[in-house]
């Protein structure tokens, strides 16, 4: 059966330099998601969240392994059409360039007008302006239309946890390059590194 997203034995290794090939950072992921939904992604800064988004949307080349979106290898799709399958909404307004050694004419067309996967990278949430409500409704709308939404949040205020609890049904925790999926918020909280990461915010909640 074809999943919406299959991340197969994916690995990205950054070495210390071109000469010194000692790995400086290694990201590994292996998971699949078969149904539409809103997946919360959390983890400390520098743990590999944005790199994982880049690998899934095909703007970063894996060292090994593959990413299949609706059964299609994202890295074999024309670079100018990859965002028709999976789109990365960047933090602030940075633009990333797609690199490929193969010319687009030799690659596969996306055959889609609107992306199946929507990856939101730490969107700005501000309780003052009310936009949060519209953003959460939009994530739900995408899910209802059969799409898969990733919401990367780096919670540093309590309402960030309220947001993920309200809108995300499953979670992915990334720490030091290790990617672990969780079926729901409770099992995420049972995971010790996640507890340590959310530490203060959770105790505040108990208080």
């Amino acid at each position: 059966m074809t999943g919406m997203l299959e991340v197969r034995n994916l690995e990205k290794i950054y070495t210390k330099s071109r000469l010194d090939r000692t790995p400086a950072f290694r990201l590994s992921a292996d998971f699949r998601i078969d149904t539409p939904g809103v997946v919360g992604m959390m983890g400390p800064n520098g743990s590999g969240k944005t790199t994982l988004f880049e690998l899934i949307t095909g703007s970063n080349v894996p060292t090994s392994g593959e990413v299949l979106v609706a059964g299609r290898n994202i890295h074999k799709i024309r670079t100018d059409q990859r965002d028709r399958l999976a789109i990365h909404y960047h933090q602030s307004y940075q633009v990333r360039h797609f690199r490929s050694f193969k010319p687009n004419m030799l690659m596969e067309p996306a055959r889609s007008d609107y992306p199946l996967l929507h990856l939101f990278d730490e969107p700005q949430f501000n309780t003052q302006d009310g936009y949060i409500g519209f953003m959460l409704d939009f994530f739900r709308k995408l899910r209802a239309e059969g799409r898969l939404v990733f919401l990367c949040v780096h919670p540093n205020e309590r309402f960030h946890l309220e947001i993920v609890q309200e809108v995300c049904e499953s979670f992915i925790f990334v720490e030091k390059g290790t990617v672990t999926p969780f079926a729901d918020y409770q099992t995420l909280l049972a995971h010790e590194p996640a507890q340590a990461y959310l530490g203060d915010l959770l105790t505040e909640r108990a208080a």
């Binding site: 789109i87 302006d129 009310g130 409500g133 519209f134 409704d137």
Partner: protein
């Protein structure tokens, strides 16, 4: 009746999608608000709707005519006017001349440098009528540069109205205005809604929620919500925000 309809507009700049999938529909005689955070694509959206950029995909219809990809002056001739976020006025001329230069009667005349535009009483009268709509008739003969910021904004709207449009697009009309000038602008727009259909981008949400019949919320180049102000306000996160205090 739907006067202006936008269906699935897409606009790319290079590899970047700036407008993903914009659809909206503006009913005749209403004020349609557009709001969204900085960088959401609001102004790009205006540029596409008023012909400054051609969309890469999608349809724009005005009174049933497909206008996507037409040039700004062709679109203006159909009865679509706009103002800009950054004001475009001729400061060295008097207020009324700014309006006269925008009148279709003036624009269709052959250009004659020897004739003083102010000698043409029909043009002057028409320009005074337009200035009266925005409350500037008594300042018609002042230098445009001497106007207060709020009055400059009103003059900009007068320039947009000079073309006798059916629909007016206003890009952040309150930007740079103080509280008192914003209140006066609110009264002005309220008075214009009798005559014109208005589409307005606005950062000042209180202003927009007061005036708009329908609001499209744009973010990530897409319409993420669209409803009446009352329905949008019912959202619990809106109720928690500073907007929740708006009566």
């Amino acid at each position: 009746m739907t006067l202006f309809k936008v269906e699935n507009i897409q606009k790319r700049f290079g590899s970047r999608v700036v407008l993903e999938n914009i659809s909206l529909s503006v009913e005749e005689g209403t004020v349609h608000g557009i709001m969204g955070p900085n960088g959401a694509g609001k102004t790009t959206c205006f540029h596409v709707l008023t012909g400054f950029y051609a969309p890469d995909a999608g349809r724009i219809t005005f009174e049933g005519h497909d206008i996507a990809g037409r040039k700004p002056h062709q679109i203006a001739r159909l009865g679509i006017s706009r103002s800009f976020q950054i004001m475009n006025l001729f400061d060295d001329t008097v207020v009324i001349e700014n309006v006269i230069l925008a009148l279709p009667e003036f624009r269709s005349r052959s250009f004659n440098v020897t004739q003083n535009v102010f000698d043409d009483t029909a043009l002057v009268d028409r320009a005074l009528e337009v200035l009266d709509q925005v409350g500037l008739a008594d300042r018609a003969w002042q230098k445009a540069a001497a106007l207060s910021y709020g009055n400059r904004r009103a003059l900009e709207i007068a320039v947009a109205l000079a073309a006798d449009p059916r629909i007016v697009f206003l890009d952040e009309p309150t930007s740079g205005l103080g509280a008192e000038a914003t209140r006066r602008l609110m009264d002005l727009i309220r008075s214009l809604r009798e005559t014109y259909t208005i589409v307005m981008i606005e950062h000042d949400m209180r202003f927009l929620f007061e005036l708009a019949d329908t609001i499209s919320v744009i973010h990530w180049g897409q319409v993420i919500a669209e409803d009446t102000p009352a329905a949008l306000r019912a959202n619990k996160w809106v109720a928690r925000s500073t907007l929740g205090d708006v009566a």
